[in-house]
Amino acid sequence: MAAADRDLKAAIAVTRFGLGAKPGEIAEAGRDPQGWLKAQIRREGADLPAANIEPTPRRVADLREFQQQKRVVKQEVSNTGQPATPEVRDPVKDAQRLLRDDTQGDFLARVQLATATDAAFRERWTLFWTNHFTVAAKNIQTAVVVGPYESEAIRPHVFGRFVQLLGAVETHPAMMIYLDQVQSVGPNSPMVQRANMPARGGFGARLQPAVQRRGNLGLNENLAREIMELHTVGVNGGYSQADVTEFARAMTGLSIGGFRGAEAQVGETVFRDAAHEPGRRTVMGVRYDQMGKEQAAAILTDLAAKPQTARFICTKLARHFVADDPPPALVARLEKAWMSTGGDLGHVAEVLVDSPEAWAVPAQKFKTPYDFIVSSYRAAGTQPQAFGQVGPILTALGQKPFDPGSPKGFPDDVASWSAPDNIVKRMQFAQGFAGQAVQGRDPKTLAADALGERLTPATAIAIARAESRPEGFALLLMSPEFQRR
């Protein structure tokens, strides 16, 4: 490989496949750009954020305690008819603040990892999966478990077999809370049957509907649908409404401990035979004779292995890393890698790196706000030290921390992130950030470090002509080539 070609490849490796260059990183990758990327792929999965993220059961227990406190206060208010005294109210507020701090801490730790890591391709790959398997922090119940979810269900499996990742994700308490699986019970399950039985000893009692006695008891299809539509075969994957319902029935029984069950299992994944819909299921033409929890596991395994799943996700991967309309040859390569190895994600990642199409396309992907903020910190060689440095700006730019707003995740196309207001807000961020972060450094050097061979003459000239270091650094961050990857 010619040296010039290798220099450009090094710049592409670090920006397109990574999270933007830290000073020195392009030189590091320069010896063997593809080898440098592939060395980041490892069986044990992604890095874990450095902060001590508590396990999911701990978070669920804390949340439950808070909710109980809140109920006590509510009860007090309704009993006395007086507003709650500060003595009663403040501990509840404190508890809520602590829970919020936990989530913000989780998010900050994740950004700190992204801004600091030497294995940025590994983290980019991981972030693809966190977005693919979105759990959105839409309320406090989900917010407290998103961080643990990513560490427990996603990070260990991002270079393993897809089916392992899928299984870990769909049975994680966070996903089951987010997509309502915890509420789903088989209509003909023993639990519902018991609930529907007439109460002993009274005449009119038997007419009382189960709903009133035990809350909403029944099937919830939300998770089953999203697994098919968003996580595996995709919306055009060839399934029907009947398949969704059948799959939802098969998954009944999967829930988390502590809501109705034993204290010991608070916040842990449990399978309640009593809530499982009895009987065989048929999903996408395949009959599942397994009983109990094996049934859903068998369906998930089959969904993971379907060629539609390989196509759907490989297209998404190519779109994420390369172009909104990815080269068909690249998608075909990834699909082949997927199908020939039974969804070995580490192998798919290697093939992505080895695909010439992934490098040939000019930089056209527009950085998401998260990528933009992270790469800005990396270009400066610093990390954010407080949630407030990254959370509000990401919200302003449309990428609210841990909250894409829907299970579909954040969009991944140029048009979604290049709206006028977004550019102006990025510019305002760049202005402020550059002033703080540039320190005494020469923006010309920072530009060479951040973009290498991707730095265009126009941007280099603009930066060289900047009349102050902050202005030069802000120009770098807002340059067309820094905004793209």
């Binding site: 006028p420 510019m427 102050s468 902050p470």
Partner: protein, 434 residues
Amino acid sequence: MNRINPEFRPSRRGVLAAAGAIGLSLQFMATQSFAASEGAQEKKKFIFVICRGGMDGLTVSPPVGDPDYAGLRGQIALHDEALKLDGVHALHPALAATYALAKAGEARIVPAVATPDRARSHFEAQDVLESGSPVVYGAASGWLNRTVESLGRIRKVNALSVGPTTPLVLRGKATFESWSPGKVVDGSARLPTLLQDLYKSDPVLGPALARGLATEAMAQEAMTNVARMTPAQAAVMPAATPAMTGSAAPAATPGAVRAYQQQGQDAARKLGETLAGFMREPGGPQIAALSLDGFDTHANEGAAQGQLAARLSYLDAVLDGVHQGLGPDWKDTVVVVATEFGRTARVNGTGGTDHGTASTALLLGGALKPGGIVGDWPTLRSASLFENRDLAPTLDMRGLFKGVLGDHLGVERAALDTTIFPDSAAAQPAPRLV
């Protein structure tokens, strides 16, 4: 209390004026002369304004009487519209408030001053300008910070940095306060303009930024108008105009540009007034530093009107705001306006000027001694130009600063020569400024 600086001699004029302003009787002064002089010393105020980008001194104070000026400057030369100071020098017409002060003996120009740096790099030259070191990256702190540190051993001195980031000149061991105005002065920042240029062939970013800025300008104008409205008028304002929602980007009309500039001047004057207000507070800062940018005029610099004229009108508005805002305290004040380097003596092929050497510094304040230009005029004869391209320096910037710091603030000469401006004994303090 010991009088630590025996060389300090408050000017008679300053003391009398101070006494008059605070209503002290002469008898009181006679019996309390020591205390009064101490008090006067503590009232001394110093403001350093950095004009970043390499401000073109030959446009700030055009030497219209220099026979070579018009020929070198071509389309950007100023003529009769320049505000005459003496037989050679004038002030740019946008500096009307500064000119009025000059006429009253409260502003002077330093027409050919330069730092010891000759690299013509913004970053290096600003480093030398602000660090006070003779060489680039020779000091990690700024000379104004070390001034605060030095004075702090004698009396209580507070310093203020104005702007979202602290300029190097005020960074260092001595503590200082900082304040930055809200969004309203962002309108004068260069970044949007530079980016529009950088995006001109970008099909996504170019149009997006243009539309976003148009929306932003509309929103700001709307907010300004709302602020000026009576409550009854404000109540009938629609929540958002169509342009604010980004559906249409109105083209900038000349009237809109003028309005925008007027807004910038108003904001700049307000900035000056606010800074003055801080300095007048009991216990407020006696020392302040402020940066203005936008002086890097490689193309379309303009003459009486244009790009640089607009920047100078902002500068003039800030200075006017400081003057008006300080009121009676103006007489105890010296403001120094300086830039990292000047620009080429000749106009270039794009109606601008490139990085040069000597430039103009401005001195303003009621505490100044009236006088002509500070330093000598090297002339623009081709034999006099530095490296046959730039105005040659006749005064070391450090000498200018040292003259003001010594005579106005009472900083000891030994500190000026060694710690505040390291290895600068050869750069003599400019005499008789205060």
